[in-house]
Each structure stands twice: as C-alpha cells, then as structure tokens.
Symmetry: C2
Subunit: 224 residues, 2 copies
C-alpha cells in the first residue's frame, strides 16, 4: 500500500472516530437530562462514569492526530483537517464534561435536605437542551458533510440559548423573591442553565473550526 | 541561516509569545477583581475590550504553530512542544474569557436595581482568586522552566479552589435563607465563584499539558 493511501485510510479512521465521539456526547446530554428529570441518582452515577469513555476517546483521537502529523508531512488541506480535529475534540470533551456536570446536580447533598420534590426542569430549560442537542448534531454534521452553510446557521442559533439563559435566570430571581423556589434549588437551576449555555458555546466553537477547515479562515481571520 | 536554525528561532518566538499571553491573562484576572471590588463599570468595559487582545494572541500563536508544523517536519520533541502550545493556549484563552466574565458581573442590570451597595467579595472569594493567580503563574512557569515538579504540585492546589467553591456556595444558600443576601447578588456571587473554580480547572489542564511536553504522558497515559 502506498504511503498516501495508508494516510488516507488513517484519515478515514479519524473521521469515523469523530462521528463516534459526537454520538457519545449527544447521548450523554440526553441521558443527563433524563436523570435530572426523574431525579435518578443511579443513572447520574452511570453518566459520570461514562464521561471517562468520552475522555478516553478524546485522547485516542489526539494520539491519532499527532501520529498523522508526525508520520508523514501532511499537505495543507490534510493539516487543516487534522488541526481542526484536534481543536474540535477539546470542545466535544468539554460538552461531555458539562453533561456529567448536569447529571451530578442529582447528587447534590443539599437537594436531599430539600423538602419539595426535585423539580428543576421547566419548558424554557427543555427548550435550551433541545437547541443544544440540535447545535451539537449540526456542528458535527457540518464537519462530516463539508457543509459550510450549516456551520454558519448553527452559530446563529447560539443567541437563542443565551437569551433563554437570561430569561430563566430572571425567573429564578423572581422565584426566590416570592419564596417559590428554595435557595439550594435556585443554585442548582442556575448551574444547570449555565452548563446548557456553555454547551451552546462549545457547539459554536466546533462550527468555527469547521469553517476554518473548509475556508482556512477562523472567525473571519486567515489562519493558514 | 540553516532551516534548523530558523526553526529554532521560530520556536523561541513561540516561547516568548506564550509568556506574553500568560502575563496578559494574569493581568486580566487581577484587573477584573479590582473592577468587581470597586464596582467600577468603566474598568469592567475595558477588561472585556482587552479580552479581544488575548483572543488575537491565541490566534497568532495558533497560526505560528500550524506554520511550524507545516514548514518543516518536526522531530518528536519539537512536535510535542508545538502540540503542547496549541493545547495550552486554548485553556489560556478560556481563562481570559472567565476574567471578562467576572468583570461583566459589574454590568449586570439587576445589580443596579439592588438597593444594597454591591459587595460581592469576601475573604474566601479573595482566597480563591489568589490561588487561581498562583496556579496560572505556576503553570506557565512550569512550562518555561521545564519544571515537572512545579506542574505536579500546582495540579494538587486545585482541590483547595474546589473546596472553597462549595464553602462559598453553602454560605450563599445560608445567606438567602436568612435574607442577608438578595437573590440577584446570590446569582452573581455563584457565577463569580464558578468562574474562579473554572480558572483553577484550566490552570490544571495547562499543567497536564506541560507534563505531556516533559514526559510524553498525558494524565498518566502515553500519548506519543
């Protein structure tokens, strides 16, 4: 097999692993949300445990990228692909962390002392999670399908998540003022929406790297 | 000039720029804290503006790293240095973002409606900021001086920041329960300590990359 063909095969594997890591983080977000909605502590522990698999995947992809760069002098477009992959996985791993952070809210000790049933999720928060999931899926789809337009439109969606963050934050403050929400539930809810807001930011970062991959420009600046 | 010598010169410049970026983020943390302590909205706006310079620096270093990889097939240790730099700057840039996030708390609209004077910072929070600053400085110093021990001890300090986070979080909940803190100030304070906690995490990440640079192992796993 020619060196070039072996290199292309390795790139194919990289591609495949990125898609797999994408599925892993989407699943992590979904199951975290289920755990939190049903206040399922066992499920939460499972999610935190499976975050390790996402971290392992990041390291596996990272090692593959480094070896690809080391083994053969890549041409410019290959280098762009490899550096995009190295940047994307950092954001993907953080999204996995935030899914675990969300799940860990179930395990909050304060919560157990809370007399009311643990009800943290309202329609606005569900909407945030839905947009996040859509953004994560689209950012990876944009990469797989070389879809510049999709990367650009996905970035625009992030402002909806940001707006919902501020709306729910105001709801929490109002809830505290009228004693409709306990202080510890308020803290948990604020952290929950912060994690959701950050997931949107990381999906945006992924899209920005996809744009770099496709155009050589990162945030409208020529990088290579 | 030989290609190798030109390459070494470029590596020297990379080194220099990383140190400069380190100084920029340390300054950002310090000035954010001053802005928040004195509730100085103008200073806060300046910090948010100067975060752009940190982002620019990240892109400049990133472009240099990519060019270094592209221009000459780097040997394993050079490659390790370059990939460490590419990873470090992601965390450094996030620390800069968090400094701007901290400053932006001054600009919170809710706060203006707050009857009490804006006093968010207590001794525990100051302690968190001090440890953060120390961690950031040490992580970069460990890189510059090839100091493996310093990278390892710095990582251990992160648990102090985490403990303080939970202590202050409990203080906020108690403050809310006894009406000693307004809901909006509680939200701002929780976000503040979350940013401080994250800065510690990012400094830890930097140290982990320094360990990779010096040993080839990342979080006790062989990467290259």
């Amino acid at each position: 097999m020619s060196a070039r063909r072996r290199f292309d095969e390795e790139l194919g594997l990289l591609h495949h692993e990125l898609v797999e890591m994408g599925s892993m983080i989407e699943k992590a977000i979904k199951t975290s949300f289920k755990a939190i909605e049903s206040d399922d502590e066992e499920a939460a522990k499972d999610i935190i445990e499976s975050d390790k698999a996402i971290n392992e995947m990041e390291r596996k992809i990272e090692a593959r990228c480094l070896k690809l760069i080391l083994r053969q002098q890549p041409v410019a477009t290959d280098l762009r692909l490899i550096s995009t992959a190295m940047k994307m996985i950092t954001d993907m791993e953080r999204i996995g962390d935030h899914a675990a952070d969300i799940a860990s809210i179930c395990l909050d000790d304060e919560k157990e002392k809370n007399p009311e049933p643990f009800r943290i999720v309202d329609d606005k928060i569900l909407k945030m999670a839905d947009i996040d999931l859509e953004m994560v899926a689209s950012s990876i789809s944009a990469f797989i399908n070389d879809n510049l337009e999709l990367a650009k439109t996905t970035i625009k969606t992030d402002s909806e998540v940001d707006e919902l963050f501020y709306e729910v934050r105001d709801d929490i403050i109002k809830g505290l003022k009228s004693d409709k929400i306990s202080p510890s539930l308020a803290m948990d809810t604020l952290m929950l929406i912060k994690y959701l807001e950050r997931i949107g930011d990381h999906a945006t970062n992924i899209c920005e790297w996809v744009i770099f991959y496709l155009t050589g420009e990162h945030k409208n600046k020529k990088l290579l």
